[in-house]
């Protein structure tokens, strides 16, 4: 049974997740969290809830007819000269080219069951109490926890200084085998990083799967698969931090 969170810390735990705490405030809270299982459980609960709310509460888009009507009212169809015509067309062309580039970079690749499983595992872990088996921002606590639970020692790093603090670890299943899942976060966005032994070396590549970004790479005898609802660029930044060492 987890102890209850401290009443005087709840708003601070929340503010830290919302990115509203100063650096000094965050550091002080971190010290408290290390010694308080109740507040750590609250933090994990709020993280999962935040992700589930974003999943369950769809962000409704405005109807197209409303957008068209307002645009027409704001800017009545102008008397255009040939020269004026060209500029928006050019801008549109550039925008379309950019969109095509982004689409290329995020093209849903050939269906990779492993990535689907990873996304599903990520969503499963958002349920209350499933996020971490070992909730700790201390890599010296997280790493030994995997001893005896899996037959390899996953590398564990913390990037709190770069805005990707370690939240903990858990045992998950990918491709029919138990693998280490390391949990990180960027503000309120959770990142699951699955790590298992594999040969070869590849540079991080991003893919979109069902609205989630998935980044995979191989390095130093391990395969890495990161899943998050972060933007792909931020998840790639996370991958680059990992590869550039502790």
């Amino acid at each position: 049974m987890t102890p209850p969170p401290c009443p005087d810390q709840a708003l601070l735990v929340q503010a830290e997740l919302d990115g509203e705490l100063s650096v000094a405030g965050s550091a002080a809270l971190q010290v408290h969290l290390e010694g308080c299982a109740g507040c750590r459980a609250l933090q994990a609960g709020l993280l999962g809830l935040s992700a589930r709310v974003r999943l369950a509460g769809p962000r409704h888009a405005a109807p197209d007819r409303l957008r068209a009507m307002l645009a027409a009212r704001a800017v009545p169809p102008p008397r255009v000269t040939g020269r004026l015509m060209r500029r928006p067309a050019l801008a549109f062309g550039a925008g379309a080219a950019l969109a095509a580039l982004v689409a290329l970079a995020l093209l849903p690749g050939p269906v990779a069951p492993l990535e689907d499983q990873a996304v599903a595992g990520h969503i499963r872990a958002l349920q209350p109490g499933h996020l971490t088996d070992v909730p700790s921002s201390d890599r010296h606590t997280v790493r030994p926890w995997f001893d005896g639970r899996i037959d390899y020692a996953p590398p564990v790093r913390d990037f709190a200084g770069a805005g990707f603090p370690l939240v903990g670890g858990r045992l998950d299943y990918l491709g029919g085998r138990p693998v280490a899942a390391l949990v990180y976060r960027r503000d309120r966005h959770l990142i699951d990083l699955y790590v298992w032994p594999a040969e070869g070396e590849t540079t991080p590549a991003a893919r979109a799967r069902n609205g989630y970004a998935v980044v995979t790479w191989r390095d130093a005898g391990m395969a890495f698969l990161a899943v998050s609802d972060l933007e792909a660029a931020q998840l790639l930044e996370f991958a680059r931090l990992w590869r550039s060492g502790p």
Partner: protein, 175 residues
């Protein structure tokens, strides 16, 4: 006016989705939301010339939020509060990724979880719901939420906490 219109199209129209999303969650009705947003946006267009602030999104959402509250108050007076959600129940299923590990029963129960959470969010008191929607779905800062809802930052913090605690307790009761 032409120049104001162009500025409005450039600075305010990009926030139309945010405006509609807020109205939709406050009114819980797509027809009423579209109606309120249309009125509020046209009013915003009229007054845009006098807008001098640095944050057009907060300014716009404040207008929409107040219009939505006016509509709710009028509906309450007329005892016409829309109790039935017109939302398509299956809308939340769009983002459902296939989980090879799931049997159909587990997949169904997860969809139900999600629908239940959306319903719990929709059932929160309106002053808690608007804070949570602005924070989680629009990713606004406490200060901007305070501006939109017209309360101090401290009140925003405690409302967010009450909203989240209510949803968390609901989850525990289920587990």
């Amino acid at each position: 006016m032409d120049r104001d219109g162009a500025a409005f199209a450039r600075l305010a129209l990009p926030h139309l989705d945010a405006a509609y999303n807020l109205a939709r969650w406050l009114l819980r009705d797509p027809v009423a939301a579209e109606d309120v947003v249309q009125d509020a946006m046209l009013r915003a267009l009229t007054y845009f010339a006098s807008f001098r602030g640095a944050n057009p999104r907060a300014w716009l959402l404040q207008i929409v939020r107040n219009a939505a509250h006016d509509r709710l108050a009028a509906a309450a007076r007329a005892r016409e509060v829309p109790l039935v959600m017109h939302d398509d129940e299956d809308e939340t299923a769009v983002n459902e990724p296939a989980d090879p590990a799931d049997d159909p029963e587990t997949a169904l129960s997860r969809r139900q979880d999600r629908a239940a959470l959306a319903a719990a969010l929709a059932a929160l008191p309106v002053e808690l719901r608007e804070c949570l929607v602005l924070r989680e779905l629009e990713e606004m800062s406490y200060r901007d939420i305070a501006e939109v809802t017209g309360v101090p930052v401290g009140t925003v913090m405690s409302r967010l906490w009450r909203a989240r605690r209510a949803l968390l307790c609901r989850g525990e009761a289920q587990a």
